[in-house]
């Protein structure tokens, strides 16, 4: 009797859970075609721009319930490129990203809100310098497609503003601005 119960329960679980599992498609971030860009004030009169190139992660798309989709991104702190090698060394050091002690910057989404068919607001936990804060990014869904090798493609572009001092990065404020505008451009494949 107990065996019968177990078999029925297993079949029920299979019927109920599998479609839900199938609904979430997991795309992997393509590091070659993805980047995190930043814009930060300099000397209180202009802006300085740079990128992080060491990006990885996953985008889990729930087609049945898009608001349940998840984004998990990791960025290598020492991949910062400000287009000046001397400055990059300073940015990687203890004054800014402290890349030896905090090698990875992470973002893990926690909720999403639909603005339009192509725009979402995604809230998640951003961890920088060992400090985690909830942030909200405006995400443009750029669409899906097929790559040269037949792989499925997905494009997203997220924008968010943070205050670096919230994460304990206070060096050089206000000559180097506190507010940072981030653009996360993702091409993901499956």
């Amino acid at each position: 009797m107990k065996i019968l119960q177990t078999v029925v329960l297993s079949l029920l679980m299979t019927v109920l859970v599998l479609p839900a599992a199938r609904a979430a498609e997991v795309f992997t971030v393509d590091a070659v075609h993805s980047v995190v860009g930043y814009k930060i004030g300099h000397n209180q009169v202009s802006n300085s721009y740079g990128v992080f190139t060491g990006i990885s992660g996953t985008v889990s798309v729930d087609e049945a319930e898009p608001l349940n989709s998840k984004v998990n991104i990791e960025v290598k702190a020492d991949s910062v490129n400000s287009y000046n090698a001397d400055r990059d060394e300073h940015l990687k050091g203890p004054d800014f990203f402290n890349a030896k002690q905090f090698p990875v910057i992470t973002f893990a989404s926690t909720s999403a809100k639909k603005i339009s068919d192509t725009e979402y607001e995604i809230t998640g936990d951003l961890t920088l310098l060992g400090t985690t804060k909830s942030v909200t990014a405006k995400v443009a869904y750029l669409g899906t497609g097929t790559g040269r090798d037949g792989e499925a493609l997905l494009g997203l572009e997220a924008k968010l503003n943070i205050k670096r001092s919230d994460f304990g990065m206070t060096y050089g404020i206000p000559m180097v601005g506190d507010e940072v505008e981030l653009t996360i451009a993702i091409e993901a494949t499956k």
């Binding site: 090698a85 001397d86 400055r87």
Partner: protein
Amino acid sequence: MLLNEVIIPILGPAFFAGILWLAVWGPWRTAPAEHESPTPIQHASLALALGVGLLLGYLKLAGWPPFPAKTASQWLALLAIAWAVLGYGVALLEAKRGPRMAVVAALALIGGALQSQVLMKHTWSVPVSVLWLAVFAVLVLLASEALSHAARRQGGASAPIAGMLGAMGLFGSMLLSYSAFLGQLSAMLVSMMGAAVVVSWISKRFTLAGPGVTVFYVFYLSLIGHGYFYSTLPGWTAILLALAPFASVAASLPAAWPQRSWKAFFVSVLLSGALAGGATYIAYAARMAKVAAGGGSEGY
């Protein structure tokens, strides 16, 4: 900016230490004459002033560190409290050599482990971690005994000047190695050693020995470690800087030289200055090599 990032955090600790030392060691005190041993409270004031001074400077620059700390420099600020309290206690209780060395070794091992825990967890193998902790603890123990002995033998400004020259080299090397914050912490050591030089000129009894020189060397060695492991301080710069304060020990070796010898004083100053200068030059050369490799555009 100059007031909040340079004058108060860097000169503040020196004023604090200088005033405390003058109050305890001042020439108007009726305590021991020049040739007699310092009192326990005088010894205790050395560790207390350096530990609290560093903490005050750190608080002005970066605020209260969280507990548990997240970064090595936050741990250093928290450890400054431990070193100040334990150094004060050990000196006040006039602990014998064995227990004193046990306390110094234990705190050096704990402090070294806390400041390098990220590397110990994610980068280093167990043997490398053990080796680093052993080197750290041995250097601190050596400093606590040998530097103390040299400071007592040479007296006066000799030990503070050797410490100040080493810390100046550390300050310059940190700036050249892309770390202004570690440079600011190094500058606190320079200014506190400067205060010790001034106090030693005012009070002939003042001797930066015992817990004073131990606490100074712990902070100094910790910052060298931060620069090497977490910034880009070159290896040879780190080694020369770690050795610079020991110049006073080398200058104490000739047995023919009497206590408080001018010859020993000059040799100590010249040797520590040469080591610190050499260390800074290596950091400068490394920086220039990086600039050249990156396209030759220095400054930003």
